[in-house]
Amino acid sequence: MVVIVDFLIQGTQMMLVLLLAPLLTGFVRKVKARLLRRRGASIFQPYRDLLRLMRKEVVLARNASWLFRVTPYLVFAATWVAAALVPTFASGLMFSWTADLIALIALIASARFFLALAGMDVGTSFGGLGASREVMIASLAEPAMLMIIFTVALIAGSTQLSSIAGFMASSQVGLHVSLGMVLIALIIVAIAENGRIPVDNPATHLELTMVHEAMILEYSGRHLAMIELAAALKLLLYISLIASIFMPWGIAVSGDAPEMLAIGAITYVVKIAVAGFLLALFESAVAKMRVFRVPEFLGAALMLGLLGTLLLFVSQGL
């Protein structure tokens, strides 16, 4: 019986991230539109877009290989698994022993690897350009992400997200300057990984500086729907990651009463909404930077992570 309940809660979490992800994207777009004094599309528009794309036929290039057709499903599956493992409304779920930070990074990195390959598969210049830029950004973002993981793992004594969230919610965390640095670094990495505004513009198709959109330019129909959904899931994943590490208040623990789970779910939705609003505010306030400035931006994240680790060694070595 307990197993079934655990299984149900885990299943709820998986469906929850899948259902919430387009809503978050729609919400961010709506807030951005309102900040620019436009009316903006309904926050449910991403669902309609996905449905429409699902019904449309797939147009394939004549020289597209099997890799090109398989990649959308691979990317979607890897991202969905990663997003479903991050503690959202409850920690310590059935599969949370697999929710290791390094495993999450590996899942996202393999999704990106296949997407970059698919971008080059058809042989158009745009796809290759997008793929090379994506890999450049990734090669800078991943070391920074590793330093962030080191720092968090040194503080919490674990790389498993459920125990990190539990540790951060307890009172033994203390005041660490490293945590603040790591938070900023993680936000920078999240912005770069999701292709949000200072690094890449998610709303444009006709710009020479685009990264993600250039890579998926050849996709259509249900393939495009899969990739769009995976991109929305990735945004939700990073926001849940930041929320579960740095704002773990209200997360229910497995085995709690249903009302605790409900409270966890409500606080989770509130956290997501606040984070989405802040993201939209930030994106409206800054200008997109040149591609050649991106290494400096991500270098700052790497430096913050490195500095956080160093300072942590000082305070723990005393």
């Binding site: 660490h176 300057v177 490293s178 400096e296 160093l310 300072l311 060694f313 000082v314």
Partner: protein, 220 residues
Amino acid sequence: MDRLVFDIAHLLAGGLVLVSFMLLYQNRLYALLNIFGLHAFVLSLSVAWQAYIQNAPHLYVTASIALLLKAIVIPMALHRIIRRLGINREIETVVGIGPTMLAGMGLVALSMSIMLQITAEAGQLAREDMAFSLSVVLLGLLIMVSRRNAVSQVIGFMSLENGLVLAAAGAKGMPLVVEFSVAFSILIAFIVIGIFLFRIRERFDTVDINALDSFRGEQQ
């Protein structure tokens, strides 16, 4: 309680190192000045916290000198100087920002490893303050070396002095006379440098230090 005292001191001193890195990262002159003001502000907070936990009232004087002179007066004066000089507001660095940052990280790691070994017998707070202040000093030197613009070299010099004040505050405070003389010598140095800036500008139409090298007849 003791843990919290240490954590806050750590937070403020670590924040000073972080702001030093922000100085190193910045490539606009006005933003550099604002961040220098922030640097001095964090320093004064840190010194005031030391005064509180060491129960040493004269350190409050040090903190207020840092706040008034370095966080308000000097940045405002430099703002005026830049406006009067009418120079280009972009800072030219000798090497790119990335290598400079890596060098800065190396310097921080170096000062941590040196200071934590040397000061093995000292108290916890003093050790940590020494390690952080050496990093701030070295980062200030790095700013001076890696910038071509004379105004940003002045900023590097001033942030170096902030590191010295942090060290002095951590080492059970320094006598008030010393503190005053240091503060005034910094002010005098600032005035002298300011005059020099105008002389350099008059002579070479730029505050780029490279112009001086070619004037001496060195190879470019």
